[in-house]
Amino acid sequence: MTDQERTPDTDAPDNDVVLTSRARIARNVAGIPFVHRADEVQRKQAIERVLPSLNPSTCSEETEWFDLESITALQRRVLFEKNLISRQHADLRGPRGVAVARDGNLSMMVNEEDHVRMHAIAPGLQPGKCFERVRQLDKSAEQKIEWAFHQRWGYQTACPTNSGTGVRFSAMLHLPALRLTRELEKVRQAAKDLHLAVRGYYGEGSESSGHFYQVSNQVTLGCSEQELLDRFMKTIVPGIVNYERSARQALLRRDQIAIEDRVQRDLAILRSARVIKVDEAMRRLSTIRLGVCLDLVQDVPLDRLNRLFQQIQSGQLQQTAARSLTPPESQAARATLLREQLAGQ
């Protein structure tokens, strides 16, 4: 699960705007109350029913199991920063865990809001590839587990917003130009009309960090998985992507020198700072990413930049340092990492 093992994303489709795509399937084990109404024994039962499905002889994936009750808070934090578990899953109490695939691009959370949440992630706009992967995992799981299923409402979930297919597609979009041109509100409004949810890099309430916005389908019922995917792929995301691209071109046309100045100043700061807070680093990395995508910066590879957004989070800095860091120590470690990674080539 190291970063080196992750797929390089240099050639991922639409990666100038789309950082990553994800597909998720929500499922619950038949005969056990949903997690928020299950007691300790029932939650353990859910884990016991799910674990055999991960046996490498029958499972589509080879995974490593993390018991979230017995690992450290730092390990939970790192799993969260790598988008392998949700904030809720990290912070909840009680029996729960996550199975993580070797390449770190697929996970199965057990006892989050639903008994099972399977996620796959891929660089750029590739939700179909992600879906294929979680779907294979679901298929091997259903050989061993009876999922709660309703004739009319489909796969049963704790929250009515997930009923039906239990499938949600999402894309992490980098929208710095729409932000700069103050047109983001229009996207938000359009997204609402399309039944899309828009959130920040680390979920609700983290919206400003690095100008990343996660869009996902709101509706999971009444359409087949393929229809949901088609709609997401062909209408929803390309609309926003093209909107951001034209905003970028408009910025260049209006005042290229001003944009270059901004990008180069932020690059210079990250190449020389000795201490830096995470918000400031995210903001400056975002501007540099815009510069790389507009060919204003040639010596910083896009996939290295993409990884930095996660590597500068304090949990991962502490994991690398192999000890807990005070806030000033974190800021120094972050600045050092940025100087190393962004050094001119």
Binding site: F34, R152, Q156, S163, T165
Partner: protein
């Protein structure tokens, strides 16, 4: 399109054409079940009705036997307590789901153990049902009759077509 007898969405559209005149009815699943729509297995649009008709009437229980949740609790948290809640609080559950799902009224897509070919068939079947709905809405009754026969054909090609509902 709404049900002839109430405000719920109509899911059953019957068109009887004889000597150039036609009569049509549009019913929601409850009223269609009440009207006793015949032999659902021959009519893919109405397949799910059989199950609806067989379902026990809501018992008026105050709590769910599967998890102990009350309707008040479910409404407050916007979360069901267990799979049984979907049936115990059938009417309220339906309203909650439909409003969370932009008015969608039933599952389409994968079912447990469903084969790939089943999925493709369901996809096509759903497309035909939508087209049928539009045809009826536009009062294109000849077209509607043709679509209905294509739906029956699609159903007959797959002898196990009812497995997903059983």
């Amino acid at each position: 399109m709404k049900c002839d007898q109430c405000d719920r969405p109509a899911i059953v559209h019957q068109v009887i054409i004889s000597n150039g005149t036609h009569r049509e009815t549009h019913l929601c699943e409850l009223h269609a079940a009440e009207a006793g729509v015949p032999n659902p297995s021959k009519q893919p649009v109405h397949q799910l009705l059989a199950k609806v008709a067989q379902k026990p009437k809501p018992t008026g229980l105050a709590t769910c036997p599967g998890c102990g949740a009350t309707l008040a609790k479910i409404r407050k948290t916007s979360l069901f307590g267990c799979p049984q809640c979907y049936d115990i609080f059938e009417e309220a559950a339906g309203i909650m789901i439909e409003s969370a799902q932009a008015g969608a009224t039933r599952h389409v897509g994968r079912v447990p153990g469903g084969a790939e070919s089943d999925e493709a068939r369901r996809h096509e079947s759903r497309r035909l049902v939508e087209e049928l709905d539009r045809a009826v809405h536009a009062e294109q009754y000849e077209r509607a009759a043709e679509l209905k026969s294509r739906l029956s054909q699609l159903d007959n090609q797959h002898p196990h077509a009812d497995r997903e509902e059983s």
